[in-house]
Amino acid sequence: MPIARRSMIKGVVASCAVTLLRRQAKAQAAGPEDAAQIDLEKAKAEGKVVLYTSLDTQIVDAINAPFTQKYGIAVQYFRGGSSDVTSKVLAEADAGRPQADVVDASDLAALLLMKERKLLKPFKSAAAAAVASNLRDPDSTWITDRLTQAVIQYNSKELGSAPPKTWADLGKAALNGRLVYFSSANGDGAPRIYTLAKHLGWDVVKAMAATKPLRVQTPQIITQVLERGERIAGFLQNDNIAWRSKRQGKPTDYLFPAEGVPTEIGACGLLASSPRPHAAALYHEWWMGPEGQALLVKGGKYSSRTDVAPPEGSTPLSELKLLMLDYAEYKRDKTKILDQIADIFGGEWGN
């Protein structure tokens, strides 16, 4: 008896699931292919937009509020490290249950992987005209929204007079047990460590590791650790956090080493399976547009748009020597690179 009922229940459940899947498939309407095709009414009718991002929530909130006010479209977001964002997008794609409309991550390799898996939708943004051609996909599936520089941040009470000035200084014995750096257990800190190694040699990285630095799970915590004097110097991957801490009058300062600064490309794109393609495109254009990007800059980030000024009081990017990563190479060799970094630093890198 129970068997018969069970199979009946399973049958019912399965048919419900199939209906659900079909509905999902139908929802994946194409939507606009370029900015000019955005239909405001359709976007409003979709009611909300779901963003997956690795950007600091304070900046995301600042960008979202005027968007919702202007269009009446709510923005719901998931915020995690770039790996969290990416693994969620990939897992949801595997499940056939796409949740996100727009994805943004500060790891271009992640966007390249999504593109390779055909999860991103080509979309010609109006912002393309303002973003250098090497910072956007020729196939229009992604576009750089921000450039984040690694800096040396330090506690200004402890090191105000003689801060470490070069990356090599971070590996000196004076900083034994006084350095802090970041990576989540998923290896989010790896790309910029690799950039440094690639341009300045692995010895610089190994020397840093030899000081037995404290590892924290996010860049925000590096700054917190420095502010309260838990450590005195940090290999901070996000200049905007150092910028904010200094402006808030916390006892920290930061500098861009002259030998060059690892730069990370943060990029965004629309998901091909987006359940709300019109609202998604509208939001994408707000995010990439002059207003959205100005709010990003207000949070301390450098915009990818050439027509948006750098954060107040920051060195213009043109005056910095930017060290870039070949993201296609990084994506290809990721496991090997993570193994190498895990060997040097120990701990969990998701490799």
């Binding site: 229940i9 897992a91 249950r97 989540s184 701990g347």
Partner: protein
Amino acid sequence: MQVIAPAGTARGAPAIAAAAPTGRFGLERILLGLGVALLLLLVGYPLLWLLLGALGLPQSIGLEHLARAFTRPQNYAALVNTLELALGTGLMSVAIGVPLAWATARSDMPLRQLVHVLVALSYITPPYLTALAYIILFGPDAGQFNRLLRALFGLTSGPINVFSMSGVIFVIGIHVFAFTYFLTYTALKAVDASLEESAQMLGAKRWQTVLRINLPLVAPAITGGALLSAIDSLALFGPQAIIGTPAQIVFLPTRIYATIGSYPPRWGEASALSLLLVALTVAGLALQRGYLEQRSYVTVGGRGVRTRRLEHGLWRWPLTGFCLSVVFFSAVAPIGVLTLTAFSNSWIEPLSASNITLAHFQAALFTDQVSVRGIINSFKLATAAAAVAVALGAIVAYLDLRTTLWGRRLLDYLAILPLGLPGTVMAVGILLAFIRFPLPIYGTIWILLAAYVARFVPLATRSANASFRQIDPALEEAGRITGASWWLTMRRVLFPLARPGLLVAFLLVFIPAFSELSATILLYAGGTETIAIAIYRLNDLGQLEVVSALAVFTIGVVLSLALLVNWLSGSSWASGETPIRG
């Protein structure tokens, strides 16, 4: 009573069949069948997927994931660290749990009631909150205690580093030692004073009595408690991640999290590592059960036990000092520092009138998007999970106690099984099972509900079983003989009588589900964040004050409900029926 139950049902059946020829079998069997199907779906099916996943399915089939899981040095390191952690916490639980149990159960120490309650408090505090508190307390340089020590002794850096293996063992140990404490406490309470008196009459000294009478009698409880502490510590993802990650120490649960959390997710490796973790827990539980069975010294006879408090003279004072310092570190300091942080403008500044604020509570409870959503989701999920788990538990207990159905023992086993499964492992199985056809609920709140029901159904089953056992089946038979249908008998006889027990079962599921972290972290999506996720994520962003406010709120909810359970069940904390968590 248990023996009578099936026979009674069989005897009652024809009479009722005659009185109510239609409907009865239908409803009874539909309800019971549904319960069985749900249990198989929520517990059995994900476990099956764990095996399939380890074999590489659905992409491929082979043994390479298993081989990879067991040969990569990272995984090997995680295994060694996990074993070290289990051993460390097991030993620590004995070192502090046994003296404490002695002091509160058998000594004339002052404040023993307070110590007892504070041990319970440290046990119900979610361990990831204790871990957060310990970073504030014992961060190597800026931790409050280290700053104090630096100031006192003029040191340049703090002497105690929480970010180390001993730090992880300590923080987890002061949580899990409660197992050893409660088991030993109960065992000591059951030792009849006449045994001790006999020994003393035969000329044994006090210490000889303790060593040769008390210790052998409570040894199985101590060993059992140590093993339970060790097994629980394996599964505690929260403190392992919060303290282990900065310390560069990898454990199996954090390793599993990272294999899925980094991209592209490596399902096969995660499944294989999960199986390894299951093997560890099962081995531990089997050892514990075998040990207890072999060395069970029955001292509980038909008559009540008379215990005697021993006078410790001046020794009372060092004992009190020891006990108070243990509960200070396990409950007072962590909860205290979280509370102070939650109310201060900036936690690094000293507490003063100008540094007090309610702003963080406002942010946590009203303004922060993720936090508010987390609170609402946690209440919803815990309520729904507790309701479903109690229904399932009641069905399993009913089948076990009131019917002779074939396979009911197996069902009972299936419903108890998740007790031995770490949250991370359950989550991997549930992820693999419910990410695809026929029930693709990944990314929705339903997958969290499924995980919570699966994880905590054992608590409800045990509780329902205990409460049905106390009700004589003759009462239900009387109902049926007088012509009531099966459902009417349930509604009018069994449920009203079992209601207090089922309410306790509901709360026992609600409490751990409310603050669940280790499974949630793998299964949540945008929009389905819970309190634990809000705490974890806001902590990532360095918003420690808001995190503390949320933590204080969570502890407040959990504590009030635990007090309610205590009051409802009319027993002391020592009942041993304390909820599990992760």
